[in-house]
Amino acid sequence: MGTYLWSRIAVTVPVLVLVSALVFFIMNLLPGDPAVLILQGQSASSPEQVERLRKELRLDDPVYTRYGRFVAGAVQGDLGTSVQFKRPVIDIILERLPSTLQLTGAAMVFAVVIGFSMGVIAAVKQNTWVDTAAMIFSVLGLTMPIFYIGLLLILVFVVQLGWFPVVGGSAWQRLILPAVTLGFVSSGIIARLVRASLLEILRQDFVTTARAKGLVSWVVLWRHAIRNTLIPIVTMLGLQVGGMLSGSVITETVFNRPGVGRLAVEAIMWKDFPLAQGTILFTAAIYVMINLLVDISYVWLDPRIRYG
């Protein structure tokens, strides 16, 4: 177990370096001068001002020097200073982080609960209308633009039914619709995966054996079948986190939630280059770390990995 854990952690460090380098180089090597962009945002840009800002941000250094400086700062928790707020980027991100964590956490719970139950029901009732309905629901999740899901929920539950207040309300009331919106896509994907892997497992010998020795069908389902579907599902969940981080950017915009995703979009709109760069790199790092956690959770889910 120790070896597996350490090898996973050891692999994550170069991935983190590569990912951050990639984003940093994209943002700094593409044509488009951060100094010009920032000054456009401030609606004033004489050549002298551009020159002064370039000096201030030390943009004349080669890009690898700047990347090195950025990483050296980042490991000490310094992601630069926002042009808009004149405050450290990391402070602004940390203020916005709880909102995004609540949203993605709640969305994940929704996606797992709904997706899992739909997948199990669809597999057990294979080729009935329940199965068809669950699969149509899942396809809709994949083809509907996420902002439409959100707007549709607002239209039905806020405008028509009035179940949620337009503005204000408790933290829970403000969380439910965004979480359902964000979780909808993943719940469809999870349902599909659970159904497929369960159908495969239900055909295997040990399930037939369990049935033959007279176990009640739900015991067979829970103890024998579902346990074996967990690994692909956790892997899928890890991948879904990426989709959710992307989705949270749009969901936070639809529901006006002041989260990290919204912050990235605002930073780009305000042409606040250091803030945009810091937010995107911070999110990327979180994503890599979550995938590490997923890998580590295998140890707990599948004893074969621990002893193998």
Partner: protein, 301 residues
């Protein structure tokens, strides 16, 4: 497949190869015709393309014409799908938006294929350091959620429709590199590649005449399906205000226009959303059909 390829490689008979590929296209068409979902998808797509090409004839109004006296008109005989806060006709905006969305799909996927396929071929064929360098960059790009990559491109270039297309396209490059590289790795182990080399074919000829056709099927499937994803992603960027800028009648941008007026004018956001949904669904149906017909290995159970 491999046998036929060997024969055409050794014999070098262009005629045989041509007959072979024409037969393949016929077979593909027959497979697709049998697939009801794929045919529905194809018909919807053809209608959308016709709508995009003849937009100025199909539309009933000017898509960006501001008519202050006709703000928020509900769907009616004059404005089939209603009007927005500037009195612009939603139906006409959707018709013209089809042009933009289809273009986004083609161009973004085009960027992905044009950059990804050569890089994948190079990595798979050259091996060694070249392969390691290209594949580690690919891993890094795949380790990032697509929208983050797109956001970093837009942050550097500034928000616009063109930059959104570039951003979405860049995000799809690693998928094609991965796909082609693994295809090349398995293809180069085959007999027909050795045969071609023995008969004195140059590396470039082997690559383009013998290896590329064998990795083409998955690329066609993934790029067809990828078009739906590209349209969704670009619509998302435009919805955020980071893609198409006003008054462009892009679908995602039109949805954003209506989002503050849901209670007053539900139609502004609803109809362009449905247009996106229908387009992506049609592409997915058609793409699934292509996959089943072209690539038995990818076939769903």
């Amino acid at each position: 497949m491999a046998i036929v390829q060997t024969r055409s490689a050794v014999g070098g008979r262009a005629l045989m190869a041509a007959t072979h590929s024409r037969g393949q296209i016929k077979m593909l068409a027959r497979e697709l015709q049998r697939n009801r979902g794929a045919m529905v998808g194809l018909i919807v797509l053809l209608l959308l393309v016709a709508m995009a090409v003849f937009a100025s004839i199909v539309a009933t109004h000017d898509p960006i014409d501001v008519v202050p006296s006709e703000r928020f008109v509900p769907p009616s005989s004059d404005h089939w799908l209603g009007t927005d806060k500037y009195g612009r006709d939603i139906y006409s905006r959707i018709v013209h938006g089809a042009r933009i969305s289809l273009m986004i799909g083609f161009i973004s996927v085009g960027i992905g294929v044009l950059a990804g396929v050569p890089l994948g071929l190079l990595a798979g064929w050259a091996g060694g350091w070249t392969n390691a360098l290209i594949m580690r960059m690919t891993d890094a790009m795949l380790a990032l959620p697509g929208l983050l990559l797109a956001l970093s491109v837009v942050a550097a270039l500034g928000p616009s429709l063109t930059n959104a297309m570039i951003a979405v396209g860049v995000g799809t490059v690693p998928t094609y590199i991965r796909l082609v590289q693994s295809g090349v790795l398995s293809a180069r182990e085959h007999m027909y590649v050795d045969s071609a080399r023995v008969t004195g074919c140059s590396a470039a000829r082997i690559m383009f005449r013998h290896v590329l056709p064998n990795v083409a099927a998955p690329v066609i499937v993934v790029s067809t399906l990828g078009m739906g994803g590209a349209i969704l992603a670009a619509a998302g960027l435009s919805f955020l205000g980071l893609g198409a800028q006003p008054p462009t009648p892009e679908w995602g941008a039109t949805v954003a226009d209506g989002r503050d007026f849901l209670a007053k004018a539900w139609w502004v956001s609803t109809f362009p959303s449905v247009a996106i949904l229908v387009t992506v669904l049609a592409i997915n149906l058609f793409g699934d059909g292509m996959r089943d017909a072209l690539d038995p290995r990818l076939r769903r159970r």
